[in-house]
Amino acid sequence: MVGPIYIIVIALGIAFTLGLLGKASKSAGWVFVLAGLAAMTFISAQWLVALLEGSIQGIQIFTAGYKPPYSISLQMGLEEAILTTLINSLGLLSLLYLGKEMVQKGVEILMVFMVFIMSMNVTIMTRDIFNLFVFLEIETIALSGLILLIGRKTAFQAGIKYLIISGIASGLLLIGIILAYSHVGTLDINGIASANNGLFRIAPIAGFLILISFIIELKPFPANGWGIDVYSASHPGIGALISGASATTGLYLLYKVLPVAGEEYLYFITLIGAITFIGSNLTGTAQSQPNRLLGYSSIGQVGLVTMILGLQPILGDRTLYLAFTIIISHYAAKAGLFWISGMVNSSSIKDWSILRKKPLLLVLFGAFILALIGFPPFPSFNGKWEILMKLGESNQYHWIAVILAGSFIEAIYLIKWLGYAIKLDEPVENQSNFHLTKQIPVWIMGLVLFGMGYYLNPFTHYAEAINYIPLLFALLLFAIDFLPVSIKNTITIAGLAYYFMLLWPAVEGDLLRQIFLVMFLGGGILTLLAGYSKKGKRPGFYSMAILMYAGLAGLLTAKGMYDFFFSWEVMTAGSYFLIIRGKRSLPHAYSYMLFSIGGAYLILGGFAIAAASLNGTSLSALSMVTVLPTWVYALIAVGFMTKTASLGLHIWLPGAHGEAESDVSPMVSAILLKAGVFGLLLLFISIGATNPHSQEIWYVLGWIGAITTLMGNMSAAFQEDAKRLLAYSSIAQLGYILFAFSMMTHIGWLAGFTYTINHFLFKAILFLIIGAIVVKLGTHNMYEMGGMIKKMPFSFIAVLISIIVIGGIPPLSGFAGKWLFYNAILEKGWYFQGALIFFAGIIAFLYLFKLIFSVFLGQVKDNHRNMKEISAWVLIPSYILIIGIMLFSAFPKDVLTPISEMIMPYFTSETLVWDGTKAMTSMGYWDGSTIMIVVGTAFMLLLGWLIVLSAKAQKVEQFNIVYAAERPFRPETTHVSHNIYAGYKKAIGFLVSPVITVFWDQASTFVLDFAGWIRRIYSGSIQNYAIHVIFYIVVFYLISLGGL
């Protein structure tokens, strides 16, 4: 074992030796330093490995051979080993990354770099508070020198700001140290801490001064303008160091001196962290400069960890682990992001679209962003999860709210950025430079991130083991991304099929999950079939699709809240990447993601509060929530409702589904929306029908469902965009489903299931076919289509059958849903909601007619004369689904009876009785099979009769029609399809005025304006920043001690 002291010896030795090298051998110096850093990394890593293995104990190193407190001692335990390894390796990679710049700028900056890394090592290891001060000063000074590496004039401004503020902080620290010394007579941190527990504790003011100076070093919001300037002025390679190493060190130091200051400050630490977390992220939303944005984000993350440290009394011995999960995510992600930023080399996040030239970097960029927000499988996900559960257990709801709100605000700008990179046009000019030595460190950080996510999962409390195989499969698909679409499509379908077979036994005997498994994976296979009609390579498509399906499948196999939520987030991420692929999808995918994340956080909040009264986090235990049950249920329900796009939370759906690629729309509409339904079902089942805490919730949800349906259908009727029309229709259908399940009666649930299955079947067909037609005709606007029935008869029939199902017209299965619905409504007594639903149901005819008429009937447009039927690969899955519809329509009993039996245990109320093929309730009866027979027979007879009568009918062109006076010359002018419900709109169109869209628009504008207003405090003036810091100190003094 090489002693940790050699880290310092090597670093200083090399730094001092560099002076001897002279100017002749610039790159030799670089290699020298690189070797030194490698050695330092090796030393710390070897300690880390040994400590993790448990083969050795942590040690204390006494300098000068005397025991503390009489001399300075360093400590190398697990914490120190981890952090020094992180810092040294980051230094190593940074130097690799900065290679060229460093070599050019000469040995001085190499010395500074070396001393910088060394100083952080010492600050972490030292157990002497004055020594800490000295090396903190070294770190500060070295950093202020490293800022200059970039060679810009602004760097000097940032440097002096940094020096001045840290000068104030270190001065206060010195006062604190000497005061502490005067009281306890030692400078040893352990000594002071143990004295604090005894009689001779240090004065509160000493603790305050020590603490506040470390806090100032952490750049707390809003006294952090100088810190952000440092981020934005320095070279991104240095930014990576500041964010990854310096911030990490700062946090550990805060943790280290907390016992010196005393426990009474913990609350203030939490408060400071919370303010920073929210405030910094909020300010970040208005930022468009990548480095500065990363700075805001870093400070936000530091705020989060500060909060965690402050929550020690609640988190107990898990504090460090939890802080570590966040720190490691932040470390790797931020370093990677800064490095990429250095490669992109632009002052606007909009230019990051250049990354598309480097798919691997783009993927890593996405991973970094998601890791920062806290998506699985990254460590921050585990961390946030456990923190929230712990907070929930201790009833710290306000902190839960703060963490979720801050994370959400962070997502606002990070996701925006990600979207820009994926979607915006590539910049005309760019100074990007993707040299390999610059890329390698980023790859390594990506590996670290994924590796740590995998490694840390088992250590997380309240967590279940995760099945990583689907994620690996997604990775595999990414690896073979260069193959043509047909091969990847086959592999993906095979994978889904295999996974389906794998999961089937697992859900055996659980009909609920079986149904959804068929919908998720079966539906997935069917919609993927349509992919064979696509040309090219579709880069990234298949791995993301697999990601989404993996998430969906994970929902089904989830046993506890953790793996459920894990899968939920995986699914969200995958679907986001699928949705954003559409040509004009950027804003819509963005709002989809924000609503999804918001919803996910509500769910998380609900789970966390639920954890307060549960033993463990089993999903089925939700029914036993005793603390704030109504809140728990409401939060979780609203969370799921963001996915089902219920009223108020629906504004993302039309764009997201409407603009998605033609085969993505059916995936996200027919399949993905069902995830929300599945979630709601799980929730409802665990709540139980008779739960006294949820009756109001169901009542409200019922109304929301009914109004959603009405609004969805009405909006659909006024749409001119074919896919958006379908999207609004989805909103409405999900409204029905929500309504049906909210009734919490046996028949209501049967209706809900019928609707769910129907929606899956017909919406997949419609989106597949309409999507393909839209691509084929090159327009979304229905009034630019027309007369396709002769060109695309198979499509027409499929669409016709689908709309008959949507309309609920007997004899097809849609009517089964309607019939069950009214029986349920009457039984439940929700008459007005029922009437509203019925009204909505009729309005559905408006858009159904519009859809089929505008696209298939009427006159053919001139430029569409030579159209052919859409690809067979789209028709095949559609017709398979039609077979499903027909079977369901003819034999409803065979589907409904098992479902009925499955849900029987949940309800005490009356059930559906079958008499042969006839379904009976106390209210009425319905015989699907007979209706099929009667209608079929009568229809055939009548058709035969008409054929006999008009056997000689002459076929004429459509344009061969009778006119009274003026005769239009061109057929397309006679296709009336634009705004055909003008009169209707005039009468009640005000009902669908986009109040909710306007509301969300204004909310987001408000947030951005507010952020823009806040960041005005960052006026750039050194004086102002100093005033902020002093103000901050005084205010916290008054709050924490002034009141004492």
């Binding site: 029935i789 008869p793 027409f796 016709l800 309309g807 609920g808 017209i809 009517f815 019939w819 009214y822 409504i825 008459y831 009437a835 019925f838 009204f839 309005i843 005819f845 408006l846 159904l848 007619f849 089929i852 008429f853 009937l857 009427g858 042969g916 106390s922 209210m923 009425g924 009866y925 319905w926 015989d927 007979t930 209706i931 027979i933 209608v935 009568a938 009548l942 008409l946 009568l949 008009s950 009918a953 002459q954 076929k955 004429v956 062109e957 459509q958 061969n960 029609i961 006119y963 009274a964 057929p971 006679t974 009336v976 055909i980 419900y981 009169g983 209707y984 005039k986 009468a987 009640i988």
Partner: protein, 302 residues
């Protein structure tokens, strides 16, 4: 569940009666209408003449498959409604095939014909068809609101969706009729009936003046014959529905004929008195008074 031949034949007989009564009723109404406006009007047998003429026309044009199927769908709608409607209370044979579904089936089966017709007319490619259909659908959505409210009110009142059961509950005395036990629902439904029958003031959909062409012209010969046939059946069947729901049903064909006559007459009567609404006017009108009445009819029974 009776699928026997005799059942089928009786049903055909019922259909025949309904068809003829429907034609007679329509000619009678047109005569009344003419008298009110000072004309003589058509002879009572004019519908039969028309029908025979239409079915025997030789020139027949089709614009395509859906155009061809449109009338079939439409007629299926009318016939289906008849098939699922119990016509004569207490008669085993004229209950038709109402055992396959209840009131909800009837309500939704109306759409079957409408949709088919709309699609058929749509394929005709005539711009006025689209206009007519869009107006018709717009108006129809609101017509159904008071009707639904009334039906829900009835369902609460009788606690059943079965038409036969509703009729049964109204037997005994004239005071048991829904019109007396639930007058609000009846009013709402009868107002909705005005729209359903499409007479003035709610006849913009097939307004004779603005749309002289479109479906009636595009569809001619046997196609139009089928449509006319359906019209006769549909009118009687719908009137029979209202009769069953609100006026005690019918125990014999005579009773049915009298009751349906008055129900049908009610819409004609209103039509001769009021001028035509524009589509946005009728939409708003239906959502106003009839809806409010309908809501009150539910509140009274909650």
């Amino acid at each position: 569940m009776d699928y026997s031949i005799s059942k089928f034949l009786f049903t055909l007989l019922g259909l025949f009666i309904v068809l003829n009564w429907g034609m007679l009723m329509s000619s009678t109404m047109r005569r009344i209408n003419a008298r009110v406006s000072g004309r003589i009007g058509i002879p009572w047998y004019q519908p039969w003449i028309d029908l025979v003429k239409l079915y025997s026309m030789r020139s027949q044009l089709s614009h395509g498959t859906m155009f061809y199927l449109g009338p079939v769908f439409r007629l299926m709608g009318g016939v289906g409604l008849f098939l699922f409607m119990p016509m004569i209370y207490g008669s085993q044979y004229f209950m038709n095939y109402s055992f396959s579904g209840d009131l909800i089936l009837i309500l939704y089966f109306q759409f079957f014909g409408m949709l088919g017709m709309a699609l058929g007319a749509g394929e005709g490619g005539h711009p006025y068809s689209a206009i007519g259909i869009s107006r018709g659908l717009s108006q129809f959505t609101t017509i159904e609101v008071p009707m639904t409210l009334a039906v829900i009110s009835l369902a609460i009142q009788y606690h059943t969706f079965s038409i036969s059961d509703i009729v049964a509950a109204q037997q005994g005395s004239i005071l048991n009729w829904t019109v007396f036990t639930n007058p609000l629902a009846t009013i709402a439904a009868m107002l909705s009936l005005l729209g359903a029958f499409g007479h003035s003031p709610f006849n913009l959909v097939r307004a004779p003046n603005e749309i002289p062409l479109g479906p009636p012209t595009e569809y001619h010969g046997s196609f139009l014959g089928v449509l006319r046939t359906n019209g006769a059946i549909l009118h009687v069947t719908e009137a029979a529905l209202f009769m069953n729901l609100f006026f005690g049903g019918a125990t014999s064909w005579i009773e049915l004929i009298i009751k349906t006559f008055f129900i049908y007459f009610w819409s004609v009567f209103v039509g001769t008195v009021f001028p035509r609404f524009r589509i946005e006017q009728s939409v708003v009108w239906f959502l106003k008074w009839p809806t409010i009445i309908g809501i009150f009819s539910i509140i009274l029974f909650m």
